[in-house]
Subunit: 367 residues, 2 copies
């Protein structure tokens, strides 16, 4: 009888809670205001002949490499960061290996690691210590079997970052492991470890155009490393993994840096306002360097999500993430979105506290 590999059979099914997302979508860390008008103009100029041709990734890969100050051999465009993670796991992991992640974090690391049959080692960041990056525990978890370490920086869903010194310690401690630094939220933070690529053959950096650039629907990410490592990864990928529309739009997207920097400025200002308001309202939260904030509502977390939805705002319950009991993640958007959010926040919290019992835990988690 036909039987999937054991590693696949033991995988959980993943159902992203996507359908019926009507309202202000502050639940998926997308750029809710959309992409640059130049991208749309490019999309509308596409001709049928272009759609009918197999995509040619190379010239856009060159342009993106130049944009990142890397050589073209160092950069692979991927069908979203998801594919980058998939390829990385497929290239380096097999049964008997170990892969380390720092939880809570982006859910797809676990999925793609477990597919390979490798053992997933989850090192926990402590919410009571501000979800600070657990460098010591991570270093202690590295052993002879470690073949992959995945670090989101800034991290999702906490918004917390890793100091470069800590990254350096990890990179040095695990020369036989692929160390992925996933910079999906780089634009909202501003610090990158791309310059470390030259020094560390085990470093891989991922970027995405799904967040700041407003192109989540187009599925385009980047995986970068030294040329020798990328040569191996490139063998694993379909030559036609990124579609023509994504390729065409990407060139327009990186050309319009004003659009992205303007949006990022708004998000940063909004993030600051929202965090101030949470402080004023005594809602515990974690200081974020990304385009979202994680807050702890407590037992009435789902009521809060519902109350926000009733006001037309979608936010994401993250209760089931490790260390995130009672937590909600809210994406920060433009100034207009932030104004809507700042109006709804106290109303919803008021609504919860007017029901029975204490709505909020002690404020000590706020850092």
């Amino acid at each position: 009888m036909l039987k999937a590999r054991e590693a696949v059979r033991s995988l959980k099914e993943y159902h992203p809670p996507l359908s019926g997302r009507a309202g202000l979508r502050l639940d998926f860390n997308e750029n809710v205001s959309g992409c640059s008008p130049r991208v749309l103009a490019k999309l509308r100029r596409l001709v049928p002949d272009r759609l009918a041709r197999y995509p040619e990734r190379q010239s856009v890969e060159h342009a993106v490499a130049e944009f990142l100050n890397l050589s073209a051999e160092q950069v692979l465009l991927t069908n979203g960061v998801d594919e980058g993670i998939h390829l990385l796991c497929g290239t380096y992991l097999q049964q008997g290996d170990e892969a380390i992640i720092v939880v809570p974090t982006f859910g797809m690391y676990e999925v793609f690691v477990q597919q390979t049959g490798a053992c997933l080692v989850a090192v926990a960041a402590d919410p009571e210590c501000g979800f600070v990056f657990p460098t010591a525990s991570l270093l202690a978890a590295i052993n002879q079997k470690t073949r992959l370490i995945a670090i989101a920086n800034p991290n999702n869903p906490t918004g917390r970052v890793v100091d470069q010194d800590d990254l350096l310690r990890v990179l040095k401690a695990a020369p036989a492991a692929a160390v992925l630094v996933d910079e999906a939220y780089y634009d909202f933070y501003g610090e990158t470890c791309l310059p470390l690529l030259e020094q560390f053959p085990n470093l891989f950096v991922a970027r995405t155009f799904s967040k700041a650039y407003g192109l989540a629907g187009l599925r385009v990410g980047i995986l970068a490393s030294q040329a020798a490592a990328m040569k191996q990864l490139r063998k694993m990928a379909s030559p036609y993994n990124v579609n023509v529309v994504a390729l065409a739009c990407l060139e327009s997207a990186i050309a319009d840096s004003d659009y992205v920097s303007g949006y990022v400025r708004e998000v940063r200002a909004g993030r600051s306002l929202v965090q101030k308001e949470l402080q004023r309202l005594h809602v515990p939260f974690w200081h974020s360097q990304a385009n979202f904030v994680l807050l702890r509502i407590g037992d009435k977390c789902l009521d809060f999500v519902r109350a926000m939805r009733a006001r037309g705002i979608l936010v994401r319950d993250r209760s089931s993430d490790p260390g995130c009991a009672g937590c909600v993640r809210i994406t920060i958007g433009t100034a207009a979105h932030t104004a809507m959010l700042l109006k709804a926040l106290p109303e919803c919290l008021q609504e919860l506290s007017s029901c029975s019992g204490p709505a909020l835990p002690p404020a000590k988690a706020a850092m």
Copy 2:
């Protein structure tokens, strides 16, 4: 030191000869006339908000399932058939397993099988026997370790097909193997094994919108099987594997059946004309059920490709495929493209034979 898995290191690099494809592109089996005007209209109506959202595959998957007379649980949309093959190999194959392919065939089976560390068993179809499907050799190659059998029907690059009786024998002989029937060229043939899905839990059928539908650039394929098997495969895929533009356009593409059937009629008529002309010119070829014809030019194969290119027509040298020494594959397009091809063909052959030596092998390969 960082080291890719052995199976990855031993993989060859794959460089599709894509760049600089100027002229009439009869080299990649695309629909050179492009997609339905409805698809283009849909593309141009897309709004930035749609591009900025993560794609929701489900509703389009339902529509495609209905289009194929299957249930939604049986169908997974993939980032081209390439991703379908990748997922299938990843779900069923591991080191120690065997996977059988019938060569010559589509090159990506080999790539994705070898990535898993499974052993690739290539059963050859004999060009001197018309590349007829080698049922007996294939059945003889099946053993306890066989976990995947990939069959392109019609096959690429030969255009040859497998009888349903032979498929049934394979399906019955290998109940513990995933049997992939890749129907990428189904539209030009007209026979499908989709109705067999009900009966065989080990059958997987792939389809693509890259060929007849003229959407190669959008990257969208289908993998179908019984619901239980698809549940395993779905766990392996990113929930956002197909981009929003592809999803939006796909609905318009399947709605415009007139466009596709009109195009397919032209291709079939063209195929017949080209095969008659090849007969008249005493050029050996194999009768094709796809949108291309494989012909044997012989030693001067590359000269022929160059002579065609000089006339603005790109065709594909397939000399390095098993059994295809001296062979060229020519895509069949619309009536206008066929007219150009029929003009260029005798001119190029004339040019070759006016050089020294016999240009053509004996005609016995023509079947």
